[in-house]
Every structure is written in C-alpha cells, then in structure tokens.
Symmetry: C2
Subunit: 140 residues, 2 copies
C-alpha cells in the first residue's frame, strides 16, 4: 500500500511528502468522493488548511483526481481511473449523490449518454449528476 501510494505520486510527477501520502491514502481507502472538509476532518489536525487546498489542486492538475460539481455548491473530489493523466482525461461516467447520507460516488459503469444539441453549439464536456438514495441507505 505504501509502495503503491509513492508510485502513484511519482507517476504523476509529484514530490512525495507526508501530506500528499496521507491525502492520497484517504482517497484510496474510500470508494466515494471527498470534499475539502471531509479531508480536513479525516486527516486530523496534522495538516494546515492551505496544504490541503494546494494538495487537491496539485492532484487535480496532474490528473490524479477529478472534481464533481454539486447542487449545494460544495465540490467533491474522486480518484480518476488509471488511464487518466495530466494530458488526457477520461471522465465519462455518471456521478451520484445520496440525499440521505450525503455521500457522492462515481458510477464508473454508467456511461453518460450522448446528446444532440441544437445546431451551432459545440460540446466540450458533459457532466451528469444524479441525486437520490444510494444502495446502502435504500437497504435500510
């Protein structure tokens, strides 16, 4: 695990530091998405707010994570799949947010359907955000 984390960082051309290790570990332990606040809480008091911001920004730039916009204006982040990097970004899956537990997850298997826009529009990115009740919450 330790190895894997350091490898991932190096592969993304990021210096290996305690903060980045810890934050990347949090993402790997979690199958859902994390907000800045989540990370600050889970990381304990060990890192400065600013470091968390800058780490997330670096991860974003290097294509380690991608951001998920939400209706309540609180951006979440989730690990990208292996074939993402700073250059190319494959991010064509649907995002789901549970209105009950608040968790956000990537539904990697659900591909965003293609759509036709009126003529004249150029499509660059499509984001599909589904909210409802997740599997865990619905089961209760």
């Amino acid at each position: 695990m330790e190895k894997k984390i350091d490898e991932l960082l190096r592969k993304s051309q990021l210096s290996v530091t305690a903060g980045r290790r810890k934050i990347l570990e949090l993402f790997l332990q979690q199958d859902g998405a994390l907000s800045h606040g989540d990370i600050e809480k889970k990381a304990g008091e060990k890192f400065d707010r600013v470091t968390v911001y800058r780490t997330l920004q670096a991860f974003l730039e290097k294509g380690l994570i991608h951001s998920i916009p939400t209706a309540d204006n609180s951006i979440r982040y989730a690990l990208c799949s292996d074939d993402c990097s700073a250059g190319r970004h494959r991010d064509d899956h649907v995002h789901f947010i549970c209105n009950h537990c608040g968790n956000a997850v990537c539904l990697e298997d659900v591909v965003v359907p293609s759509i036709r826009l009126p003529r004249g529009y150029v499509v660059q990115q499509v984001e599909m955000l589904v909210s409802g009740v997740c599997r865990n919450c619905a089961a209760q």
Copy 2:
C-alpha cells in the same frame, strides 16, 4: 410588462416590492441564467446584497426560478417554465455553459435522457450540464 411582473409575483404568493420587481424583470429580460453577482451588478447600487440573497431564496422556494450547479462552484439561477410552482417542479432540460463568454442557458428543448442505474439506487433528480461553446461565440 409591469403588469406581468406583478402578476407573477402575486401568483407565487410573494409581496410585491421594488426589489423583487427589479430582479424578476432582470430574469425576464435575459434569456440566460444569472448568478448572484450578475444580479448585483445589473441592479445597480439600488439594493443591498442581503436583499438579493433573500429575494433569490424566496424565488427558489416559490418555484419561480431554479438553480444550475456549475463546475466552478458559482450557482446560476434561471426562470422556471410556466408550469413550475412551489409544489411541483418540472426541470428536465439540459443546461449549457459557454466556456468562452461564461453565459449559462437552459436548453428547454433538449430533454435529459433517462438512464439506468445499478440496482439498489433510487433516482430522485437528474442534472445534465454541458459545457462548450455557445451559438453566439461559435459564430464568430
């Protein structure tokens, strides 16, 4: 026009005030979506920030407008179609944001396609956000 505005407000069970008239007018004059900041600028120095916040909140609650989440964490608001009200909300169209001019518009004619989620998930709302280049910007 004046008449129409007052009627709309009354229909939504909102007291008619200068601020609400003005802000609703801005939405009617505009075919795109407006952010809080846009409204403050366009309304001039006439209204307090707080009034704008509270007005938007009131409009949201009464179903006059709906919010559009964006990737850059700046919520926009757009007029709802006529058949929306505090009770029922029909909001099944695609939203488009231009990366060039920054404008956000509702593509009322483009319906969000239905999707199948893995079993166990309960879908309550689907938001589809397309970004790219809008008709006006692409034409140049």
